[in-house]
Symmetry: C2
Subunit: 710 residues, 2 copies
């Protein structure tokens, strides 16, 4: 790619960012947009929608940047919980790494790369077209001793990252523990979820749970709640909700009509419709009540139950031990927080869960593989000549320089990015069928899937330019992986620099601008009153974490190949730092709290990125005929993996379960607390399927209590 194309792309995106920032600074002050830009403050009642006009409202002041900047970690912790803190630490961690890498890259590696004249020697003709390649390692002469600079840079960066990783893991583990120590008693700490309860014809599920835990945990067992299948009720409730929406819309319409007089008598059938819908709603209401009753067949008991214990330690021992002689029965696991439970899918039998897991894994793999087709098309777009062949009528337009630059520099990654937008929701949907019991588990599993999806479909597919078979042949020939990576990865440096600028900068500013919620709000505004209930969104970790991590992977792998990527990456991270902090203050409210369980994923992805960098380095040095450097690169991945193994042993257990020591200490604290009696009372009713909550509906009032939102 030529420099001017990159500059065009950078120019467009910088412009877009500035426009987005300015628009955001104005739009967020308009009361009609409060639900889009500060839903959290609105829900908390901190801000009111007072339609008072003043000059400040139309000036693009950015005092929000200052507020986001000043937010301390403790404030963030109290605002959005430990998960948000860990998310922000992932960004600051990346900032630290790439500041260090950037200094080495720009002041040491870049001059060395420019100094070389490999490309001048060979590609005299193509020099103008490859001008960005002058800044990459491709320009260093083969066999040149200057390559040792790159060698040491790789060693130093790996060491630095490992040190930081260790420090972060330790810090977050300590945070997690102190968060646990400082927390009030929470229902999920005292609860386990038991599945695959063996059914017998003589006993009900509830009785067999009672007798099992009374027998084996006589001193610590408190009570239990059997889970019921509520899929039918849930679909009825959704139907009722839709009907209710229709009715309110019609009512509003009627009111407007009454104000405007009798101009539109044509719509007189509205009242009839309202009555009709009202009747239907009444029927559904009766139906729901019928199903909610204890003896209904539609809500028969599932073979799963929440079991409550007197102490955290008792609950922990219960899920650590295998309960029954048959390991596929009485499978216990820690219960999620009540608000975190994913009620719709309680496939309770061992075999069914196992099979659905397998099916989902196969589906995910197929999806990951088939997704390559649009990627290949996108790759085709970067090739102008191919475009001209496909669409001959475009030839005249493609000769205009500006159009050419947009197409080569901007369009490909924009299309790629748009199609990638669909991936996190699809992965989330697939994962939700895998039998997880909590939203947090689903998101964390989907997060991993999206990471691998991105590595495969964006990184590897771009690097090996596309076809599924060529990719597969690389994977199936492990001996030559470093070599082939070394040939292919540097060639795509300019593409990924553009990718950071377009996908990275745009995604993070559009995150600030919240384009889709804004559009949604603009469309629905005519039909909704300002007093309508609205949901405070939560940050979809499985969408944003993989994105940040993937930019980290690009930065690490291209650090010594094409250090020019680093300033753009740093700009992205700085934007992300300010914008996500702002969003945590104004927009997102936590939907659940895992206590920082996200970090191991971050750690593993970083280790993977390092190993990938080592592989490429191995291949590059062999290709550049500096074989001692190639051989001396071998210990580095081994050492990195050993370091990872050490961290897995030292820190990972803390993120999986709490230790006897912590649990018992925390239990002792509570022992003398007079509020515990109250807590136990609440504990027993904490886990209640929202579909089974009383369904308050009176067709005469506008007020409909919506259990699905709670």
């Amino acid at each position: 790619m030529i420099i001017s194309a990159l500059l065009t792309s950078v120019g467009i995106n910088t412009g877009l960012c500035v426009v987005f920032f300015a628009c955001y600074s104005i739009l967020r002050k308009q009361p009609s947009n409060y639900a889009v830009y500060i839903p959290r403050l609105l829900a908390e009642g901190t801000s009111k929608r007072i339609p008072r006009f003043n000059l400040e409202r139309i000036l693009p002041f950015s005092n929000w940047v200052a507020r986001a900047w000043r937010l301390s970690e403790d404030e963030l912790l109290s605002l959005s919980g430990l998960d948000a803190v860990v998310f922000m630490r992932m960004i600051t961690f990346s900032l630290k790494i790439f500041t260090f890498a950037g200094i080495i890259g720009i002041f040491v590696l870049l001059p060395v790369n420019c100094w070389g004249n490999q490309l001048q020697d060979f590609d005299v003709v193509d020099f103008a077209n490859n001008s960005l390649d002058v800044f990459t390692i491709s320009n260093v002469n083969s066999g040149s001793n200057w390559l040792w600079v790159h060698f040491f840079a790789v060693y130093i960066l790996t060491g630095f990252i490992c040190l930081l990783l260790h420090h972060e893991y330790k810090y977050i583990a300590l945070k997690r523990l102190s968060y646990f120590y400082s927390s009030d008693p929470r229902p999920h700490q005292f609860t386990i979820l038991v599945r695959s309860i063996p059914s017998s014809s003589s006993y009900g599920i509830s009785d067999s749970v009672e007798s099992f835990f009374r027998e084996f945990y006589p001193s610590t067992y408190v009570s239990h709640v059997v889970i019921r299948r509520t899929n039918k009720i849930r679909s009825l409730l959704i139907e009722a909700k839709n009907l209710y929406k229709k009715i309110t819309q019609l009512r509003k319409h009627n009111r407007q009509k009454n104000k405007q007089g009798d101009y539109f008598r044509l719509f007189g059938q509205d009242d009839g419709l309202i009555d009709q819908y009202g009747k239907k709603l009444g029927e559904i209401e009766q139906n729901v009540r019928l199903h909610q009753s204890e003896n209904s067949l539609a809500t028969e008991e599932a073979r799963a139950a929440f079991v409550f214990f007197k102490s955290r330690y008792a609950a922990a021992t219960a899920f650590h031990m295998q309960q029954s002689v048959n390991p596929t029965q009485w499978i216990a696991e820690p219960a999620p927080e009540p608000r975190d439970v994913y009620w719709p899918f309680f496939s309770e039998s061992f075999m069914r869960r196992w099979i659905s897991k397998l099916v989902v894994l196969v589906a995910t793999t197929l999806f990951t593989l088939l997704f390559l087709i649009p990627v290949v098309i996108v790759q085709g777009l970067t090739n102008l000549k191919q475009l001209e062949v496909l669409f001959p009528f475009l030839t005249s337009i493609l000769t205009i320089k500006f159009v050419t630059q947009i197409i080569t520099g901007y369009l490909p990654s924009l299309i790629l990015q748009l199609s990638l937008k669909a991936v996190p929701p699809i992965m989330g949907f697939l994962t939700s069928m895998q039998g997880y019991i909590s939203h947090s588990d689903i998101e964390s599993s989907a997060c991993n899937k999206v990471i691998w999806f991105t590595v495969w479909n964006v990184f590897l597919a771009t690097v090996f330019s596309g076809s599924f078979l060529s990719l597969l042949s690389v994977i199936l020939d492990p001996k030559h992986i470093p070599e082939r990576l070394a040939v292919a990865v540097p060639a795509q440096a300019s593409f990924f620099i553009t990718y950071v600028v377009t996908s990275g900068w745009t995604s993070v500013t559009s995150e600030l601008f919240r384009i889709i919620p804004l559009l949604g709000s603009l469309i629905t505004r005519p039909f909704s009153s300002p007093d309508d209930e609205f949901e405070v969104p939560s940050l979809p970790f499985h969408r944003d974490v993989p994105r940040v991590l993937f930019f980290g992977l690009l930065g690490i792998t291209y650090f010594f190949l094409a250090p020019l990527i680093l300033p753009f990456l740093l700009a992205y991270l700085c934007l992300a730092y300010i914008i996500y902090r702002n969003q945590f203050i104004n927009v997102y409210a936590p939907k659940y709290e895992t206590g920082g369980k996200l970090w191991p994923t971050v750690h593993n992805t970083m280790i993977f990125s390092l190993i990938l960098m080592h592989m490429i380095a191995l291949g590059i040095f062999a290709l550049k005929k500096l074989s001692p450097a190639s051989s001396w690169m071998l210990p580095l991945p081994v050492l990195t993996l050993l370091f990872n193994e050490y961290c897995r042993k030292r820190f990972l257990p803390i993120f999986i379960a709490y230790s006897t020591e912590s649990l018992i200490k925390k239990d002792r604290e509570d022992q003398n607390d007079p509020r515990m009696a109250e807590f136990y009372k609440k504990l027993v009713i904490a886990y209640k399927d929202p579909a089974l909550l009383p369904f308050q509906y009176t067709s005469n009032t506008d007020d409909l209590f919506d259990p699905l939102l709670s």
Copy 2:
């Protein structure tokens, strides 16, 4: 290989077997050999060494065969424990498989193979030299529909084996549970081993263990024993033992001299020597007593302790839970039986154990790889022409037909087998440095290592005829593994048939004959009195299990390639069946009891063998130009792996730890047992390092209590 060479080999080995059987039947009745052939009965006092002569003693009656045959599983269980039962079930399991496979192989596949004329068409000249290949799949015509017979045979055998595997896993899991239920209270059920105890300058190790468990397990903690480093005492004791042996030998010598009169006054210095040794022994005795005292520096406390609990359930919860906030401290694991503890190596710190484990793994890998050199030499020996080139003086001998046949048919695998004899002890030694705390863990880990060693060094190295690099290139090119296996494996059919006959038959009859112990006894007999203490041996599982499993692997992989191997394998298994049962009755006493933990290893190896067979089948059908069969072979390994995954979930947990249900039931049974008070008293002193036991030595009596033997 030509048929006559195989027949020679079979003839020699059958002869050897008959001779061994006859010799054994006579020799075992000689009282002087009782210590070799019936040490177990001798130690139990069932048989006495009465040197009474009768005719029966020199007639080769084989009534021992009948006794071994009649032994029921329950008798075996009470004699040698569950581990012996599982070992025997491994053999009967293989017998069942290969009877089924043999029927299909001999009556269906063999005729199909002979029917073909692929080899006749191409190798007219070499036909005589390849006559064994007529019975293999190589003889079936390419693209012939008869290959579908092989295809279905593979499917049927896989199904049969999976069914049997499921049945056996279930059976043994139930056996394990019923064994647990029927067992008396055992110390190791109430005990955990804690390592990496954090040391502090103010507290001793013992105090910190006491305070930790008093704090977190106040109601169930009983007591603890801190482990002390006794390497020095151990070496002193060995020295003392050797000195004592020398003294007794000298004394015996003196006594004989006194009887014979003064012929050999030359040996008068014996008395002086005895005094000298006696003095040394006295010094050592003092030294040992000094070290054994509580405050000795030589036996400082290690950062590890056995901790005793009131109930099995309490002990189990303690090792299931992570104890401390720092996962690398207070690491708990189930304690082994007191007799099973491997005292010499208590590397107690987390890092040291981890590093020693890594070092041992690297050493094992290197050993496995370097071992190929003798294998290559052995492979060279099968090639007569190479021999003639290397040793020209042999040319005249090599022209004799009988010698040729011995060399090609017998010698190669004999040499291979002899060098393989050294592997299990070496693996056992290496594994013992890995930080395991019990003999059973060491043997089971060594067992796995020996299995992989055998698969790599005997199977793969033979198949790909030898060189390390060619092997590595196969592994690093996974796409072509089935193809290369399909070319190489059938070519070695005759070698492995001979291998079964020589290595298999010989090893199992020499197991009966106990050549090495017999030779040892013959050599040391002049120096030992019949009243000497002798050790009852235990079956070294890591030597015998891999051998049986490897023959299973050969049988499964060659089943459809060269069914001729099956009758020889069946003969081997029948021999093994009778002989090992006899050895369990007469020779081996169990050194420890793991409750059948061996079975998962057997199961995994069988699954591996199946997958290997599928790989080869995949390649063969592709090679034979029957591609639909090759594609339809693909689901089979996937299904097999799914079956394995199911078994892992359904049965494996039972072999790892007991469930709450079993533990609490068992604990309840004991609650009302009046003998429990007595048991708790014994429990506290059950774990005692033999090196710290009182060292009774008086230089005036001949009696030396030897703590190393207990």
